[in-house]
Amino acid sequence: MTKPLVAIRSVSKSFGEFCAVKQVSLDVWTGEVLCLIGASGSGKTTLLRCVNQLTAIDSGGIWLDGELLGMREQGGRLHCLREREVARQRLKTGMVFQRFNLFPHKTALENIVEGPVQVQRRAAEEARAEALELLRRVGLAAKADWYPSQLSGGQQQRVAIARALAMKPMLMLFDEPTSALDPELVGEVLTVMKELAQSGMTMMVVTHELGFAREVADRVVYMDHGAIVEQGAAAEVLGAPREARTKAFLSAVI
C-alpha cells in the first residue's frame, strides 16, 4: 500500500485566544490537486502555512514524504528541529504567496536563480538556463531582465510560480494566488496553474476561484471555523454538497 505524500494528523494551531485550526487530519496523495475552500478565517491558509512550517503547529503532526516535519521523536519525546533541518525540509515544498513576495531588488531571472544558486549550490550557468526555460513555460521569456515593479500583478505571480518551481519541489502550495490580482489578470495565472496540474505536480491550493477548483481539482476540501466540514470530488462538493454549512457558503459565493 502506497503512502500519502502529505499526512496531516490532529493538527491544531491557535493565535492567542483564536483557534485557527482545530484537530485537522488530511491526506494528500502524489499527483493530486487539492483545493481548500472556505470563508476567510476558516483556517485554510493557516493549514497550508503549517505544511511548509512558516507557521509552527501547536499540537499534532505533519509528515511530508514520510518524514515528520519540524520535530524528531527521541526517547518518547518530541524535540524541535534545528533551523538548518527545517530549511532542508522546506526545500521539498514550493510556496506561492497571495502578495507574490518577489524580491524587488532583483530581476525576474535573478529572483528565480536565487534559491538554486544560493541555497542548493547549483552551478550558475545551469540554474540560469533552467530559469529561462521556466520563464518560457510561464510565458515570460521576454521579461527575464525586468524588475518586479515593472511587471503587472499577473506577471509577477507567474514569476513567483517559476521561482518556486526552480527548487524542484515535490509539492506546490498556493495561498490564494489570484486574490490580489485585477480581474482581467486572474486568467493568465490560473492557466499556468492548470498546466502545472496537468504535468502531474502535487498541489495544495487555497482559493476562492470555484471555477478553477471545479475544473482542475481532484478533491475539494471545505473548511469552516478551523475544521474540515466536507471533502470529496470537486463535482460532488461544489455541485451537490451534503452539509448545510457547505451549501450556505457556496450559495453566498456564487
Binding site: 511548509n52 512558516l54 533551523e83 538548518r84 530549511a87 532542508r88 522546506r90 526545500l91 515544498t93 514550493g94 510556496m95 504567496f97 502578495r99 513576495n101 518577489l102 524580491f103 524587488p104 531588488h105 532583483k106 530581476t107 536565487e114 534559491g115 544560493q118 541555497v119 542548493q120 524588475y147 518586479p148 515593479s149 515593472q150 521561482r163 518556486a164 527548487m167
Partner: protein
Amino acid sequence: MRPADTLAPGFPDLSQVAVARPLHWRRWLAAAVILVVLAAIGRAFAYGQIEWSYVQRFLTAPVILSGILNTIVMALLAMALGIALGIAVAIMRLSPNPVLKSVAAGYAWLFRGTPLILQLLLWFNLALVFPTIGIPGLWSARAVDVMTPFLSALLGLGINQGAYTSEVIRAGILSVDAGQYEAAQAIGMGRLRALYRIVLPQAMRVVIPPLGNEFIGLVKATSLASVVQYPEVLHNAENIYYANSRVIELLIVAGLWYLVVVSILTPAQMLLERRFARGILQIAR
C-alpha cells in the same frame, strides 16, 4: 433630452490663451534683505580683528593637511567599525535568542548612555585599570604601548558609533515587508542568509539617509579625539595657535576644512542611494 453631440455655450476655449508669469515680488524682496544682511556680516568679519593672511597661509600648511587627512582616515575607519558592529548588534537585537537580545540591548544602553568624550578618555587611560593586557600564556603587552592615541580614538569613536548605527540598521530591517522574509524561507534560506541576501539589501535603501547623517556627525566628532592626543585637524590647529596665538584664524582654517569634507559627502551619498534603489526607481519616478 439634451443632444449628445453639442456642448453648452458660454465656456470659451482657453487652450490658446497665454498664461502670465507670476512676479513673486515678495521672494525678490526677501532675497534682497538676506543679501544685505550677509554683506554686512561679511564686511564685519573682513574689517574685524582677523588676519586673513594667516588663514590663507595655514589653510594649506603641511600640519593642517596631515591633520585633515588623519580626520578623514579616522572617520572612515570608525564608521566602518561602527557599521560592522551596528549590523551585528541589530541582527542580535532581532534574534529570537534572549541572551543575544540582552547583550545587544546592554551594549546600546551603555554606549549611548555615556558621553563620547568620557569614553575616549577611558580607552586612552585603560592602562590605569589594566597595566598589562593580553591573553594569559599566549601574548601580553603593556597597555600604555597598545592604547596609542590612534587606537583609543578608533575604539572610542567606532564602538560608540556602532551603538547608534545598530538602531538605524534595525529600523531599516523592520521596514522591509515580512513577506520578503517568508519568501526567502520558502526557498530554503536560513535566517542569516535571508537577512544578508534579501532583507539587508532592501533595508539599505531606507538606512542610507540617516546613515549619511550619522557619518557627518562622526566626521565632526573626530575633533573630540584631540583629547587623547590624536593628531586630527582641530588638534593640530590648536597646537599651532598655542605657539602663535592666532586662535580665530586657525579655528577658521579647521572649520573650512570640515565644510569641505562634509560637502563632498553629500554627492557621494546620492550615488549610494541610487545604487540601492535598484528595482524601486520605476515606482519613485
